[in-house]
Symmetry: D3
Subunit: 289 residues, 6 copies
């Protein structure tokens, strides 16, 4: 159970203000860990994120909200198996249930591949992600459902998606960079993210469009998130990631945090849980407006 | 033994300049580890801090001083037990011994609760701390001596204390934030600390007043101090912490570094030991002036 | 095998462009681990660096090069033994082989002492290093071949070396700082490195001179490289280190990365491997010009 | 959720045979971690035990039963706080609920102190435990509710308890050993347990008496359970522990496994979970007879 | 490179006695890590085993042989990818190359599934394995190529295999145990292995038959091999495993050690490497006779 | 400070019975860590052993003694440096001080090489050790003071030593085994130690002779002591080691425990500390007789 969430919607409803009736969220764990290239362990990501969120205060002083008031329901994990294609379909079904209930899904990965299920369920126009990697392989080691191909899949196979924006990307194959040159992809380097003068709205126009926000924790510099499959130095700082989450959340109908594993002292999981909360607080506050 | 300290005052006295006769310091370990909320292990804090200070050079090039010349005596640990109230009283007695000898106490926690003993012994007018948390609970889980209530205890129960300043705080309960709104509390967010234009003297007037400086290591971003009970992302950078230590030290009659545990690769302990040394070097250099 | 390198020059030759014929590199592991002062394990440095470089993309988008095209040959490790003097001589011979083949040696430490072998083989005019420490002891614990004396040895015992520049140094003994005051040593503090207005060319004139670049991973702040023998807080950020590597590489005929051990979650090794690649990419791109 | 348990009794009931109607079990987590003497972390014991039981097969080939058929309900954790006396009372209430439902409580510690709550609820005549320690202090560091005093408390303060048997004990204070000499205590050394000719029934007559079985995981040799607060070499082997569990289970109305922490690679938790299952399988099979 | 092996057959040939010409071995790493059920990391198995074999003496005093004299060639790893079926076919090809050269293949896993490739290449009549698990699932989570189904696959899909013997098995599903009741499967419990009176030859007649020996490291008690995917307490002791290796080796034409991961302090890898060497020493000594 | 020891002889004297006046012990830490072949970290051995002895009870029920009554003085560590020959001489001097005071030295390694200093100071007739390795190299990697040559050095270079007995040895080079065949060396295999019918007195006649007992912790099976430089499977069980310590202690005038490092969860250190205590308890009890 994500701290502050409930496992039955009823309980949450009773406790929360009527005002936040349109700010309903559903947590789904997706511990897929099949295609991880280097250091495995994303199967423990949902558990780690929930655990390291335990010491966080329920209250958020910026938005004057209690997390436990916001109607977050944790539906537990969708047990993963080896047939990734079938798993994604099943997972998308579970996420779609949340969408049909007019709730915002919050998916806890698991490898990045699970974003494909999230996006299929949400059907956004824009896919925004934070990632060290382009994930624009057409197939990796022959596998089109590899975590390294997920952004390509989303861009090309999900009909609703018109555009992809990747914040923090700093590495990829030559073919991925060529694909990234196309009009439907925008890559914002970590150095650009760090420039105080650059706002998310300068990079992508989200007004009137529906977005899905995916946080691959390896977007962060490895100092802040050593516990991930493929660490890549020279990355984002947590406050930069938070800034992007705050800017995108009001436009987003779905969210995930992925690629957290159990191979560090909790840094990756704590950061992931914090960004999820930041998304929820921002979205809920925006919904009140 | 903290590296560079002696266990008998005599040895240190012989070695140091007469000029620094008023810059005498006493290290006391306070391995209390009872109320830690999430990840325990602060009982190993004093040992970790002493150990990870071993590779540090004795010499400080900024102040042109040798640590081992500054009359630092390490009295070892005050063994902790379960009765926190009795323990704090006993610990305060040990710290008070140092104060009566006109030495500056340097307490190595242990959970943050031990600051209450330090402050009772020093009786400062201002309590300055670096902390991710407000620690302004009236009681946590019914316990008024929880680490999460220590700043409240100090503010309300120690007569000499007029004012509290908390640098780096970024989380708390709603009631804590309300308490923080009162005139006797100043909270400086991590974002404000990071602003180059903001000086400690803009925030609190320490001239002519006696301060106690407490470093809860979780004030740092978890990247710099993963080994602490309750990590909280979006925190301070070590140089920002150092800047505050340098600014406050000349006004401080007592110091502690707390909440270091043994659950990382030494980052928290190394940073804690370094900030303690920075305090001593600054204070000693100031005493020479 | 460093990822993207070959173990036979032939294979590499076949795969690379003729243009890069003058950008040939030889990796040599030097797992010396005898004089490490605090936390040992540098003997595992070469292995760690090679391992944590596995997830890196072959392609570099900044210089439009593939690492595997650049003629990097990995000759494996030169097994270390206790007689440091004899080992350095033997290691220098191996590195000299690379120099005589007009290749650029890339040494993977091992303790910093191995730089002495690298410098003896390369015979540069300027020794540039990134290091938290001055390493200017005449002898440490009576040992003139200690890692803590390596920069002094290089400066005083290698005839070709005229000048030493140390970026990121923040600690040393009083005698080391005095030695650092001489004209043939320049120390650039971490705070100075962080100033955007300060360029490497402001600090040292490398035009027309031959340099050797040594990266002691402890130059980085411990958050970015906890896995090293003697962590020293308040250090460099990875992008600052990268900037120095980029600026020095075009002038350098030898390179090493040292003091990585196995006592973290891969941060030190990943950073070390990344900086080695940055050196190679920059040097190779420069060679094309 | 302990693997194979359900969180609602209904689900379990539906799935199980009518024959096992009298073999109903209730898991309660009791993450108390206040008085741990050396290495803390028992607060993570319930979570670790549940997690490391995940790979175990549902089926037991010795008793031809499926764990998930045996009506085991997991009620989650009873959140612990600092007031141990109050906590034990509350915990005893929760355990007593299970007893009143004619179920067998299975408590997951937490420090050994929680056995006092279990025993108060079950009110057995004999307290059988596996423990490296006598736990017969009258008070430890002045604390009569220390884990090191729990067997004394149970023996002297719980009216129903007539007798205590401690298997595997190999250390204690002089006063504890004196107390152990009394008629109401039997200590069976690890060496005696290892003798094939010694049966549990030789040591204690359990026929017609109600027992409570407590497994302090430190009864095992540290090789088999490094993750516990106070490791004590020369301990029991897992099969010896299993033999005692099998012998006592048919006579026991309550069970706990305590002192597992998170400071190893899962050995302590896996062994703890396995012994809990062994208890359940044996008890359930016995109930069928 | 496995310590004592060579990477070119030539070198090994030169160094060894003519007598051992029929005792030629080929090491192949098979870092498959796709279907691991609980704790992943078998992809690091080959590397771990090679690394932790480094401190072993080349000489074996029991058989009076040097490992480096026995013509062991290490062909490195066969890089694994997601398509397990294709990977096994490719791996079987590599192993078959060794068989056709009349060498004995020594496969380093990787998950247990890789034994299927080894057995396909060797085509033995008897498959002997050490395993905590039956691995007789027809399919696990719908996957017939899961590590949990490997012994079933070998038994039913490899034509040459007439019989399977599993030493140390102590858990399985009900269906697996039923399959184990058939005439072509023999299960020897850990308790039976421990009986000094039971010899391997009592269990299976290997005279005149060709065997393949597979060591799933989880056959060992978790104390001896914590670093494996699914630890199962109450297992074998290393000397018991060694006894089986010694008894089977003279009859075996293929060998593997699998399921070692990187989640312990080297115990699993050291044991795995030692058992591989024991196999080679025994086989080579037998070949001399 | 080893738990139960004092740092001033006076304090200990006051507390102990006159009867034990001839059972005086001096602990000396010898953190040498230069020649460790595989995994370094023995420099942390003395600290680890002292730390993990903290939870042990002061009282020993077998001999009815309190450790703190036995006049054990801890003189701290003799800081190690790179010049092993000089260090051993200095260390021998410190140990000799204890011998001249008619105390029994208890050396905490550090690598096994430090036994040479202990033996030089004690000048025994018989050197008894527990070790996985013969340590009979004449020189290892050219170094006659390597840990792998220590037993050879002791046997051949210390005049008083007539005979060496090695319990638990299971590996060595061919030349070492040849040296072990000579009359002055007895090797007792782990399998022989395990035989209940074999007593130490069957192996070596210690009556009327002065012995020195050295415990290389790698004599234990790696399950019981993973934290050592070169683990070697198929080793001794702790109770077997204890049996040898009990048998030899009455005849021994010196003791050490070596090769403990910090690369496990405390198992090696706890076992080492326990065996040291067993030595002291046995020796002291024997002295009373
Ligand atoms: Mn990604
Ligand atoms: Mn990524
Ligand atoms: Mn605090
Ligand atoms: Mn805090
Ligand atoms: Mn250096
Ligand atoms: Mn350095
Ligand atoms: Mn107990
Ligand atoms: Mn116990
Ligand atoms: Mn298997
Ligand atoms: Mn298995
Ligand atoms: Mn030895
Ligand atoms: Mn040894």
């Amino acid at each position: 159970m994500f701290p502050g969430a409930t496992d039955e919607r009823g309980a949450g409803d009773a406790a929360r203000d009527d005002d936040s009736a349109d700010a309903n969220f559903v947590v789904v764990g997706a511990p897929l860990d099949v295609s991880t290239t280097f250091q495995p362990g994303t199967r423990f990501g949902p558990r780690r994120i929930r655990t390291f969120a335990e010491p966080f205060d329920d209250y958020d002083s910026r938005t004057h909200q209690h997390f436990s008031d916001l109607g977050v329901v944790d539906r537990g994990d969708v047990h993963a198996w080896d047939d990734v294609s079938a798993y994604l379909e099943y997972l998308a079904g579970t996420v779609r249930d949340a969408v049909w209930e007019e709730a915002i899904p919050l998916v806890l990965g698991g490898e990045h591949t699970v974003s494909l299920a999230g996006v299929r369920a949400v059907e956004p126009e824009v896919f925004v992600c934070l990632d060290a990697h382009l994930d624009l392989y057409d197939a990796y080691d022959g596998n089109p459902l590899s975590h390294a191909a997920v952004t390509r899949r989303i861009l090309e196979d999900v009909d609703s998606v018109e555009e992809v924006v990747i914040f923090g990307a700093r590495t990829g194959s030559e073919l991925e960079w060529e694909r990234a040159d196309a009009d439907d992809v925008t890559v914002v380097s970590p150095e650009t993210v760090a420039e105080p003068s650059v706002a998310v709205s300068d990079v992508v126009d989200l007004e009137g469009r529906d977005a899905y926000l995916s946080v691959d924790i390896d977007a962060a510099d490895p100092a802040y998130a050593p516990g991930t499959g493929t660490t890549e130095p020279f990355g984002l700082e947590p406050r930069e990631m938070r800034g992007i989450v705050r800017a995108v959340a009001p436009h987003a109908s779905g969210f995930d945090v992925v690629e957290v594993n159990d191979r560090d002292d909790g840094q990756a999981a704590a950061l992931g849980g914090k960004l999820l909360r930041e998304f929820v607080f921002t979205k809920a506050a925006d919904g009140d407006g």
